[in-house]
């Protein structure tokens, strides 16, 4: 294909602003798929994605429009996958920025738009859902145009749902997005912008050929991981897999690698050929590191092998998932898992429960801390239980948070950010009604319930996104919880020293409500080192008898006791105390009144 006839583009949008519907409509209009065989939202393949309205795995689809080859590269829509989004964007020359005509710009719109601009993409602004009665195409167009420094008249106004004006979007892509500029004769280089794992064919890499030509059966090499493999098959999606003999500069397609582990081929890596290797990889490769950690334990300890198998299988499909065995005194054998962010954690958890039918206990999420050891080495700690009780220096990850809210909630959002140790960065009016705030916040303050709090304090109007902004020193301490004088490792938390007293108190209060009365008094304490900072007591039960038991109701009474016994088995045994599973999540619910005033 003549490079000048190729256009590679992505669609970027906030969740629910209509990205998938627009993609469907494009496929339909270009007759890649007939309306009849159209499965709605074709690009979102996993069941879970469909339900949550988000896309995790990118795919690329080739369509034809007025003599041009258009490659639509799908991007994940969420903050946790920023790196993956940026790789997808790097494979394109242009992007459609889709904004809901009723909602206007949201935090994710901004984050992704900036990402696209940083990647040097030409942006075609699109205002969608103009068919809705509450749509304000003029207002939304002005917001988008302001954001891009463009003229509102350049905004394409469409309804992806009805198909109205979608052809104008295709025309705009051909006219405004430049063709790829690679060198067809140079040694081959292709960007791996995504990958997935097929049970029968191994790792499938989605690639954008930048320079040169790749041919079927050629020996290839991934430049960062140095993995070598043969191109078992090359092809593109239209939208079904269509094998070809070659993929040339500017084209987008797939390579079937035969590799058995997703981790051997990283997103962002550069492929070249063994016979005619490129001298330098494409820029931008990063080793993505998980930032949010939580313990995953089977509710029934007998299910440990099933959990291990399930994680092994998930890892094949999710190179960002990290896990290692963890043993908790309180919860037994499980895994400490690392995630890109909270949504990633939620997705993994749901897949484990849904696809593998596991009953899980997930401990409160925490972040990666960097701790200075006595010997002068920095160590990364992923688990509060491993956080030293005495630390010289500790660093915690920070994020740059972007929040968009109606102006009446600015005060509430600022208060929340201040409570969470945020540093105000920037505020601007996107429109007379809507304000964009940026804050620098410790990630550790966000992982618990920040998003829930933000939603509840803004009656659901706030949109939120964040980007990692490196590590900074923090005055952090480890707060331990003792139940009946035994430290419960799974309840330890790392907090800023100034908040330690309040959170410790709230946590023990919450635990007192969650732990049922036992056959003896149960003291619950929060402590920093040996110093107890808060204490509550679950008073012993004074009576627990079955009042009557005669010949007529022996069976019924026996069954009552058997049920009582079953209830006990569902609890986790901490020393002599039975602790219900919910109590381990108590730390998640202490955000409400944690102001230090």
């Amino acid at each position: 294909m003549d490079q000048s006839k190729i256009r590679n583009f992505s669609i970027i949008a906030h969740i629910d602003h209509g990205k998938s519907t627009l993609a469907d409509r494009i496929l339909e209009i270009t007759e890649a798929v007939s309306a009849r065989e159209m499965r709605e939202q074709l690009l979102d393949s996993m069941e879970l994605e469909r339900e949550r309205g988000i896309t995790i795995k990118a795919q690329a689809v080739r369509v034809s429009w007025k003599g041009h080859e258009l490659n639509l590269i799908d991007t994940p829509g969420h903050v946790d996958f920023t790196y993956e989004v940026s790789r997808s964007l790097q494979a394109c020359e242009g992007a459609l920025l889709v904004v809901d005509a009723a909602q206007g710009i949201e935090a994710q719109t901004l984050a992704n738009a900036y990402l696209a601009i940083e990647n040097g993409l030409d942006i075609v602004p699109v205002v969608n859902k103009i068919d809705l009665p509450q749509a304000d195409p003029d207002g939304a167009s002005i917001e988008v145009a302001d954001l891009l420094g463009d003229d509102p008249s350049h905004v394409v106004r469409i309804s992806a749902k009805t198909g109205q004006n979608v052809h104008e979007v295709l025309d705009a892509i051909v006219e405004r997005v430049p063709p790829p500029a690679g060198e067809a004769e140079a040694p081959p280089r292709a960007l791996v912008f995504d990958s997935s794992y097929d049970q029968y064919r191994g790792v499938v890499a989605f690639i954008r050929v930048v320079d040169g030509t790749f041919t079927r059966r050629e020996a290839l090499r991934a430049m960062a991981t140095t993995t070598r493999f043969d191109a078992e098959e090359l092809g593109f999606f239209s939208p079904t897999m269509t094998p070809v003999e070659t993929l040339t500069a500017g084209e987008v397609g797939y390579v079937i690698t035969g590799l058995k582990e997703l981790s051997s081929l990283r997103v962002g890596d550069t492929l070249t050929t063994v016979a005619n290797p490129a001298s330098a990889p494409l820029p931008g490769y990063k080793d993505v590191k998980p930032m949010v950690f939580a313990g995953l334990f089977p509710t029934d300890s007998d299910d440990y092998p099933e959990l291990r198998d399930a994680l092994e299988k998930l890892e094949l499909n999710d190179a960002a998932l990290f896990y290692e065995p963890e043993t908790s005194q309180a919860l037994g054998f499980g895994f400490r898992c690392g995630f890109l962010g909270l949504l990633h954690m939620e997705i993994v958890r749901e897949r484990l429960e849904r696809e593998f039918d596991l009953d899980l206990l997930v401990t409160a999420p925490t972040v990666a801390y960097r701790v200075l050891e006595r010997n002068g080495d920095w160590r990364e700690v992923h688990n509060p239980a491993e956080f030293p009780r005495e630390v010289e220096e500790v660093e915690e990850p920070y994020v740059k948070a972007s929040i968009i809210v109606p102006k009446e909630f600015v005060g509430a959002v600022m208060e929340l950010c201040n409570d969470r140790r945020g540093t105000f960065d920037h505020m601007e009016y996107l429109s007379p009604e809507r304000v964009h705030l940026t804050y620098e916040l410790p990630l550790g303050e966000i992982v618990l319930d920040f998003y829930d709090q933000l939603k509840s304090r803004t009656r659901g109007y706030a949109s939120f996104d964040y980007d990692l902004a490196g590590f900074k020193a923090g005055n952090l301490v480890r707060v331990d919880v003792l139940v009946a004088n035994e430290t419960v490792d799974a309840l330890s938390l790392i907090v800023h020293r100034d908040f330690a007293y309040d959170r410790g108190r709230l946590l023990v209060e919450k635990l007192r409500e969650e732990i049922p009365r036992q056959m003896f008094d149960v003291p619950i304490q929060a402590a920093i080192g040996a110093r107890v900072i808060a204490r509550e007591t679950v008073k012993a039960r004074r009576k627990d008898v079955l009042a009557k038991c005669y010949g007529g109701d022996i069976s019924r009474k026996r069954k009552l006791l058997e049920n009582q016994k079953k209830g006990k088995k569902r609890m986790k045994q901490v020393g002599a105390v039975e602790v219900p599973q919910e109590a381990f999540l108590a730390v998640l619910n202490i955000g409400q009144g944690q102001k230090s005033s």
Binding site: M519, F520, R541, R542, K543, D544, V545, L546, A547, K548, C549, Y550, G551, G552, D553, I554, S555, K557, R558, L560, L561, E562, Q564, K565, K568, A576
Partner: protein
């Protein structure tokens, strides 16, 4: 096994159904008393093989057995086998001098009176027909008829009952010098009219009433009574064992035969419950057939587990022989560590005083 030595006879008739009651009862139907007694005797005949040649106890429970037409009740008693302990349950207002004398002459040795409470306002909450004086009168009539073994049932934890009310009830009961007392915490059983009306109130009062059980035990043992079972107390008499021998049979895990509607029998590995429906019961036995029954297999260690559950209700140590599989060793070790059970000697197990107040939880813990 040579057959059950304990017989339960269910007499379901009542003058009125109390709101808290979930027993099998029948209000009215005076016309069917005769037919019912016929049916009972027919069932007894059909199950004769299940009974031992000599019985130890017979218990006539209800319902209100003494609401049964007196001639029918006397005819029934006369037709039953002999036993050293024959107990009849009675509501105080039904006990006339004639009834007391008739029961005594028919071989009844023990009467269990449903007193429940002596506070008029609390009797109204329970929808009891009798007044406090009916209880006193009933005891006197029974004594006059030479009954030397009278038990009173008391209920505590009644909505609105204060600690002072409870102490007054215990005092009033003790003043009547019964040989035996059963004290039950009121159970708001799901689905009863009472729970519907008072469930909320009971939940509100739960904390305030938490120590009532301790009070009952302290007051009665203080008055010299033996707390021989979770909810049962008897006077200590060097000459006689005043425990309910019939109920003791249940708690010791013995076999028993129950006849009448809703009655349960347990013989070896089989347990069955008769239909609770009067019409069907009468029809079946009228045709000479056993009534419809719900069967339950209590083999496979079930009875051993029940022996643990029931035996630990008693103040005497539970012999452990043959019960090893009924215990969860971890749970047992745990409650032992908490000082809730102890082993008076290698072969027995018993609840400690504190363990007895937590008997349900302790048993759930140590049962396999």
């Amino acid at each position: 096994m040579t057959g059950a030595r304990h017989l339960y006879v269910h007499l379901p008739f009542c003058a009125h159904r109390c709101g808290y009651c979930d027993f099998v009862t029948v209000v009215g139907r005076e016309g069917q008393h005769r037919a019912y007694v016929d049916a009972l005797l027919r069932e007894l005949e059909l199950e004769r093989a299940a009974l031992a040649p000599a019985l130890e106890t017979i218990f006539l429970g209800g319902g209100t057995p003494t609401v049964t037409a007196l001639p029918e009740l006397v005819r029934l008693l006369a037709a039953l086998p002999e036993a050293p302990e024959v107990t009849v349950e009675a509501n105080p207002e039904t006990v006339t001098p004639e009834l007391a004398t008739a029961l005594r002459s028919a071989g009844v040795t023990r009467v269990s009176l449903g007193a429940q409470t002596f506070r008029p306002q609390l009797l109204r909450v329970l929808e009891r027909v009798a007044g406090p004086d009916d209880v006193r009168r009933a005891v006197h009539h029974l004594r006059d008829a030479q009954f030397d073994n009278i038990s009173l049932d008391l209920i505590y934890g009644i909505p609105g009952q204060t600690a002072a009310d409870l102490e007054a009830d215990l005092g009033d009961a003790l003043a009547l010098e019964p040989e035996h007392l059963s004290c039950y915490e009121l159970e708001a059983k799901p689905g009863t009219r009472f729970t519907h009306a008072w469930g909320e109130e009971l939940r509100r009062q739960a904390d305030a009433m938490e120590d009532y059980f301790e009070r009952v035990v302290a007051t009665l043992t203080g008055a010299g009574f033996r707390w021989y079972e979770t909810a049962n107390f008897c006077r200590v008499d060097p000459a006689r064992d005043l425990r309910s021998r019939h109920n003791l049979a249940y708690w010791l895990g013995r076999d028993y035969l129950g006849i009448g509607i809703g009655a349960v029998s347990t013989i070896e590995n089989r347990r069955w419950q008769n239909t609770p429906r009067l019409g069907r019961y009468l029809a079946a036995l009228g045709a000479g057939a056993v009534p419809e029954r719900e069967l339950e297999d209590v083999g496979g260690g079930v009875r051993a587990r029940e022996r643990v559950m029931l035996g630990l209700r008693l103040d005497e140590p539970l012999p452990l022989a043959g019960l090893a599989d009924a215990f969860d060793p971890t749970g047992l070790a745990r409650v032992e560590g908490l000082g809730l059970v102890e082993r008076p000697d290698a072969g027995t197990l018993t609840l400690t005083e504190r363990g007895r107040f937590l008997g349900g939880a302790v048993t759930a813990e140590l049962l396999a």
